[in-house]
């Protein structure tokens, strides 16, 4: 009798132990996933902010008079399209929209190509050279802003996509899918668009 009582006690203890462990593991996995989702959202917002900065700096360059009128027009067209798309889709108010990037990829790729066309190495050298005699100081400063924004777009997209890969890897786990630890959060997607730096800016 005492043997079976002991067995019963042990069994209860083990069952409780397993339940506690399982509960802890589920809670831990859920919070880990929560953190990873927060990281993706932050990275997406950062990418959005950098894209806006890039578009605004490009607009400024187009309006500065440092480029010829035809180039300015091409650049202004692409940059204003990017700014418009951003205002149409305020990402911060609609995080799910943000995670899918709202189909903005082609617009941003267009701006990248417009920058590539507008800023061949010779033009960049020219804009920087005018800095020396102090006359067109602004052009060099705006160019530096475009350069910085283009680099930061590239970085922000890379880090966003890295964070997305982490979320997707965790969400592919059986435990996470079985217990629906991700809740209602949409599955984040990587963002693909052409973010190459204009050849003249490449260092």
């Amino acid at each position: 009798m005492s043997d079976s009582a002991l067995d019963l006690g042990t069994v209860v203890f083990l069952v409780v132990g397993v339940i506690v462990l399982a509960a802890w593991y589920l809670s831990y996995s859920a919070s880990r996933l929560d953190r990873l989702h927060a990281k993706v959202e932050g990275a997406m917002s950062a990418l959005d902010a950098q894209l806006v900065r890039r578009a605004e700096a490009s607009l400024e360059l187009a309006a500065s008079g440092a480029l010829d009128p035809a180039t300015s027009l091409v650049l202004a067209d692409a940059a204003s399209a990017a700014v418009d798309r951003h205002t149409e889709h305020p990402l911060r108010e609609d995080p799910l929209d943000g995670q899918n990037f709202a189909g903005r990829e082609p617009v941003e790729s267009d701006l990248t190509r417009a920058l590539e066309a507008a800023l061949p190495p010779e033009t960049c050298d020219l804009l920087r050279a005018t800095d020396e005699d102090g006359e067109l100081d602004d052009a060099a400063a705006i160019l530096a802003r475009v350069e910085g924004a283009a680099l930061r777009v590239q970085l922000a997209r890379q880090f966003h996509n890295d964070a997305v890969a982490e979320v997707r890897r965790v969400r592919a786990k059986t435990v996470v899918r079985l217990f629906r630890l991700a809740g209602h959060a949409a599955l984040p997607k990587v963002v693909h668009f052409d973010d190459d730096l204009p050849p003249g800016l490449r260092s």
């Binding site: 509960a23 589920l26 809670s27 831990y28 859920a30 919070s31 880990r32 929560d34 953190r35 990873l36 927060a38 990281k39 959202e41 932050g42 990275a43 917002s45 950062a46 902010a49 950098q50 911060r92 910085g148 680099l151 930061r152 590239q154 970085l155 922000a156 890379q158 880090f159 966003h160 996509n161 890295d162 964070a163 890969a165 982490e166 890897r169 217990f179 629906r180 630890l181 809740g183 260092s203």
Partner: protein
């Protein structure tokens, strides 16, 4: 900006990662940023800069196929945690986050500060990683931006962590090498061309043995060639045509590179980044090197140097002798090398790293719930865990 940088290796001992961290810290300090560096320290007597903090004395342990001098244990761990808590950093930049030293500990201890990690090495043993993965993974997920110093290092990160990274090369003080002027001691004369070798002479992977075994073949085509060997190490070399210079000063090294007819890098492996190649290119030495991935990446496209099959003495002779034969090739390589070296200038490199800091700081600010305190965070986790289980039982 207040920047905390963590280096896993003793700061008072020479090494690639240490030099990188030191130069980076000095560059940002000169730009007016507030920088603090945490690393082990071998000798308490050594005077180190005021921005440096020691996390303890390193001990020698076998790690990753060689003996690593790293610091760990409860005392180091407490110091690392205190340094981070009291640092008030805007960004924490951890170098080699997989090395069991200040790096792993700081990654583990960091809580709310946005983290950037730089991967330097190209050799990581995958089995140890596989075993430690469940422990390291949650820490590694704190990293907001991964930087690799070369395409080779990036491939390693991808292979072992299944994660991507952004390549920002190591920085070199290009100006120092560009300003160097040829020195008559190292300059070749017609019939007596000079070739430089740099690096420890007793470290097999630097490839001095290969260079020495190729020397007879080279002398057959260029009887007057002088191989100038510069670098520390204990070894007796008395071979005709070889001049051992020993450890040379930075000034002499730059002068050497701007004087010689070719710089030879016969490395046989273990290089994740050819910093010495960049120095040679900046100094204006035509580069002849083995075709290691890291070297090919550094040379760029079109290649600013001539490569030969790694470990192949005959191929070395042919490549080097051809360069010594042809003044046009040498001047072409000099021009390309100087242009290519610009991409590795500290000014360019530090600007990119600063852009990474900007990006992660912004993404941390914009992320939801990042400011939640620890207790609240824990409560939230428990609640969400309950919610999930309840949801599960509902279904």
């Amino acid at each position: 900006m207040r920047i905390g940088i963590v280096c896993p290796y003793a700061f008072d001992v020479p090494g690639g990662v240490q030099f990188h961290v030191r130069d980076l810290a000095e560059h940002f300090l000169a730009e007016g940023h507030d920088v603090a560096v945490l690393a082990p320290q071998e000798d308490d007597e050594v005077e180190l800069p005021s921005w440096f903090t020691s996390c303890g004395r390193p001990v020698a342990v076998p790690y990753n196929g060689s003996v690593a001098r790293v610091a760990f244990g409860p005392i180091t761990s407490a110091r690392v945690t205190r340094w981070i808590d009291e640092g008030g950093f805007d960004v924490l930049h951890i170098h080699e986050p997989m090395v069991p030293s200040a790096s792993v500990l700081s990654l583990w201890a960091a809580d709310t500060v946005p983290i950037v990690a730089t991967f330097h090495t190209s050799t990581v043993r995958s089995r140890a990683l596989h075993v430690a993965n469940p422990m390291l993974r949650p820490s590694l997920e704190k990293i907001r931006a991964r930087i690799a110093v070369s395409d080779e290092a990036r491939r390693t990160v991808r292979r072992h962590l299944r994660a991507d990274s952004y390549v920002i090369p190591n920085g070199v003080d290009v100006e120092h090498f560009r300003q160097a002027r040829p020195d008559a001691r190292f300059t070749g004369t017609p019939g007596h061309p000079t070739v430089a070798f740099l690096g420890r002479i007793d470290e097999p992977r630097k490839g001095l043995d290969l260079a020495l075994s190729a020397l007879p073949g080279l002398r057959a085509r260029h009887p007057g060639v002088r191989l100038l060997v510069a670098g520390p190490g204990e070894r007796d070399i008395s071979v005709p045509g070889v001049e051992v210079l020993g450890l040379v000063s930075d000034t002499d090294k730059a002068a050497l590179l701007s004087s010689v007819d070719a710089y030879l890098a016969p490395h046989t492996g273990g290089e994740s980044f050819g910093i010495v190649l960049v120095e040679a290119m900046a100094g204006g030495a035509p580069v002849v090197c083995s075709d290691l991935n890291a070297f090919v990446d550094v040379l760029g496209e079109p290649p600013a140097g001539v490569t030969f099959a790694s470990g192949d003495a005959d191929a070395l002779v042919e490549a080097l002798a051809d360069v010594l034969d042809d003044a046009d090739t040498r001047s072409l390589l000099r021009g390309r090398g100087r242009a290519r070296a610009e991409a590795f200038d500290w000014g360019v490199v530090a600007e990119k790293i600063m852009a990474v800091y900007d990006t992660v700081i912004e993404s941390a600010e914009l992320a939801p719930d990042e400011q939640a305190g620890r207790v609240r965070d824990r409560l939230r986790r428990i609640r969400s865990g309950r919610r999930d289980r309840r949801k599960d039982s509902d279904e």
